[in-house]
């Protein structure tokens, strides 16, 4: 059944690409063919296939049964089952990370099962100031947690293997004590009942090596952050449902908010260094996809259960931090090209690597298509209106209908799934949990407008990231910054001036070479000219009218989970009664993107 679904989904993507190619060829070839035209058709076909694959996931998700959900009462598991909750931290704000740990221990204690879970804070922090703060906040954390849960803390002086090496170090030191490991991020938060249910599901299926939850983004403050948060809360469960329909035994691992069987993970996921220097050699950066593939290679089942609620994470609150994270992920995903031929991997896992690569290569493909479309008209030969002298002139056909159908199709693949999810929410009553269908409608419209305006800007960031990786530039290991204040116009300009320049040059080229295309080109370059304004403007807190009327309202925002309320209360209390010099939040000014890039080999190892 899974194979059939996979074949149907792939067929849908290929069919959409074929239709796009047919329409594009009709339009591009109408006034004569030159060598750029087939290249444009191929670029459009690949890009359309990628869009259609995403749309196909949403369609699968809408067809999937989304009835199951995490029980409200803790499931019974044998008290002898031991689970470690791993919290890797790296130069993050310790007060915040540790308040998450405190809230999770409380949540488990409330259920009376705290004794079955130990927490291990695995610090890779190499900033001495933050390291001192971690020790200070550890003291507070120890005073906060109940008797039942144990909290361990260790800091590595050097960080071989980065996060994957950090987890491996724990397993090599203490792994034999635990049946399961719940792997989190510094900003992860999970309800006790969810953790208990994850353990129960692992116990119920001895072949299950890894179980991934779908974390919801919470605590976003800016317009951009809340748009992402809404997207993750409203659309992602449907897309994840579609992904789960296709996963078979080879589901995804996203690196956190997941549980692994310690024995399976230890026996399968010892990652080697790849020969050569970064970005393609060295430590495996996007280790999660590889670990999922290795578990599947060794016969373990890897599964995403999108119905598991009570799993949360935080996301970047502005475009600059989003692009920095994207730069790292881009490098990690492109590095997977080295592993496409790794021995013994399941075909689906290889395909997952290709999907990860396409997620970033799609941007330069669209950019190339745009450039080719501007240059192509200038390369056309002047049509011969009188192929037979003396007879009536023959005018070239203009296939405007094809162009319109093509544009509608591409926009449909982009926006159609979101509108279908909105409709599905109205029919099934899901929209009520987001404040009703009217609020959902305005949120979807605002989200589509926001992402449409930012798409050409993100395309440029991703294109640059791909070029940098191909040029051998290593992104290093910048710490995640989820506490950033808003981006000033100056900071936005520093991060995106080159996008404005590129957009201006593109407009100039289109004016000279393809004036007929200028209105279409402006759809892409217009937002690029406004990049600093868009980046800065969307980083402002959306506390005004929009929020009051429930724009981008999510279930978690309307009715916060108990563990979220616990964490917020603990952090507020901690910060209010601590001397400023001891407990000051780790504020990092936003650095221009170029600061995160180091020459190949110079990055941290």
């Amino acid at each position: 059944m899974v194979t059939l679904r996979r074949i149907l989904s792939l067929s849908f993507a290929i069919t959409m690409a074929a239709i796009a190619s047919f329409l594009a060829a009709g339009y591009f070839y109408a006034d004569g063919v030159q060598w750029l035209d087939p290249a444009r058709v191929v670029l459009l076909a690949i890009s359309t296939a990628w869009l259609a694959w995403g749309a196909g996931l949403a369609l699968n998700g809408l067809l999937s049964a989304r009835g199951k959900r995490t029980p409200d009462a803790p499931p019974q598991t044998a008290p002898a089952v031991r689970t470690a909750v791993l919290v890797p931290v790296y130069n993050e704000d310790p007060a915040k990370s540790f308040s998450h740990v405190a809230a999770m221990t409380r949540s488990l204690d409330h259920l009376g099962i705290g004794g079955q879970f130990d927490f291990a804070i695995l610090s890779d922090t190499n900033d001495p100031r933050i390291a001192r703060q971690e020790e200070f906040w550890l003291d507070r954390l120890k005073g906060e947690v109940g008797e039942a849960c144990q909290v361990f803390y260790r800091r590595r002086e050097s960080n071989p293997g980065k996060k994957a090496g950090n987890i491996a170090d724990f397993i090599k030191t203490s792994g034999a004590l635990y049946d399961y490991l719940i792997i989190l991020d510094a900003d992860s938060l999970m309800e006790g009942v969810t953790m208990a249910e994850m353990v129960r599901r692992m116990e119920a299926d001895p072949e299950l090596g890894l179980l991934q939850t779908l974390p919801k983004v919470v605590h976003a403050r800016s317009f951009f952050g809340r748009a992402i948060q809404f997207s993750a809360s409203y659309y992602s469960p449907v897309y994840a449902g579609g992904l789960a329909m296709l996963q078979g035994r080879e589901g995804p691992f996203w690196g956190h908010n997941a549980i692994v069987r310690t024995r399976a993970f230890a026996g399968s996921c010892g990652l080697p260094e790849l020969p050569g220097r970064p970005p393609f050699g060295g430590h495996i950066l996007s280790h999660d996809y590889v670990e999922a593939a290795l578990l599947a290679r060794n016969g373990w089942r890897v599964r995403l259960d999108p119905d598991l609620r009570g799993s949360f994470e935080e996301g970047p609150d502005n475009v600059v931090d989003f692009a920095k994270r994207d730069r790292r992920w881009c490098q990690g995903n492109l590095q997977h090209s080295r592993l496409l031929a790794a021995p013994g991997l399941k075909a689906w896992n290889r395909f997952v690597f290709i999907q990860g690569i396409m997620a970033y290569v799609a941007a330069p493909l669209w950019a190339l298509f745009l450039v080719a479309s501007i240059v192509a008209p200038a390369m056309k030969v002047i049509p011969d209106y009188f192929p037979v002298p003396g007879l009536l002139p023959v005018f070239p056909r203009v296939e405007q209908a094809n162009a319109l159908a093509l544009l509608t199709g591409v926009v449909g693949l982009l926006i159609g799934p979101k509108l279908l999810i909105l409709l599905d929410g109205a029919v099934t009553g899901r929209n009520r949990r987001f404040g009703g269908s009217l609020r959902c409608f305005f949120s979807v419209v605002a989200e589509v407008a926001c992402t449409s305006l930012l798409a050409p800007v993100m395309m440029m960031f991703q294109t640059r990231a791909v070029i940098q990786v191909l040029a051998g530039l290593d992104a290093g290991w910048p710490a995640a910054n989820r506490e950033a204040d808003r981006v000033s116009l100056g900071e936005a300009w520093a991060a995106s001036w080159w996008i404005v320049v590129a957009g201006s040059l593109t407009i100039g080229a289109a004016y000279r070479l393809a004036p007929d295309y200028l209105p279409y080109v402006m759809l892409v370059t217009g937002p690029q000219l406004l990049a600093p304004l868009l980046i800065s403007g969307t980083s402002f807190a959306a506390a005004g009218l929009g929020r009051r009327f429930g724009l981008f309202a999510t279930v978690e925002e309307r009715v916060p989970a108990s563990v979220m309320r616990l964490q917020e209360g603990i952090l507020l209390r901690w910060r209010s009664d601590v001397p400023a010099e001891a407990g000051e939040a780790v504020a990092r000014p936003i650095q221009p993107l170029r600061d995160t890039h180091t020459p190949a080999g110079a990055g941290r190892t």
């Binding site: 291990a120 020790e135 200070f136 550890l138 003291d139 120890k142 909290v151 361990f152 803390y153 260790r154 491996a168 724990f170 397993i171 090599k172 030191t173 203490s174 792994g175 034999a176 004590l177 310690t262 024995r263 230890a266 026996g267 399968s268 996921c269 010892g270 990652l271 080697p272 790849l274 020969p275 495996i284 590889v290 290795l294 080295r338 592993l339 031929a341 790794a342 021995p343």
Partner: protein, 51 residues
């Protein structure tokens, strides 16, 4: 928490006391990159070279 030894700060003692428990588990390194064909052929080439 046990009593803080003399000459050691309370927080430092707490950090040391919070260290991970020792229960090692092996984590063997996996093979991800195929050996180059040249490497596989090398013994054969050496065998020919000897003749």
């Amino acid at each position: 928490m046990m009593g803080v030894p003399e000459g050691k700060s309370r927080v430092r003692h707490l950090v040391e006391e919070s260290g991970l428990p020792a229960a090692p588990m092996a984590m063997p390194e996996q093979t991800l990159v195929r050996q180059r064909r040249g490497l596989l052929l090398r013994p054969l080439m050496q065998w020919f070279a000897l003749r």
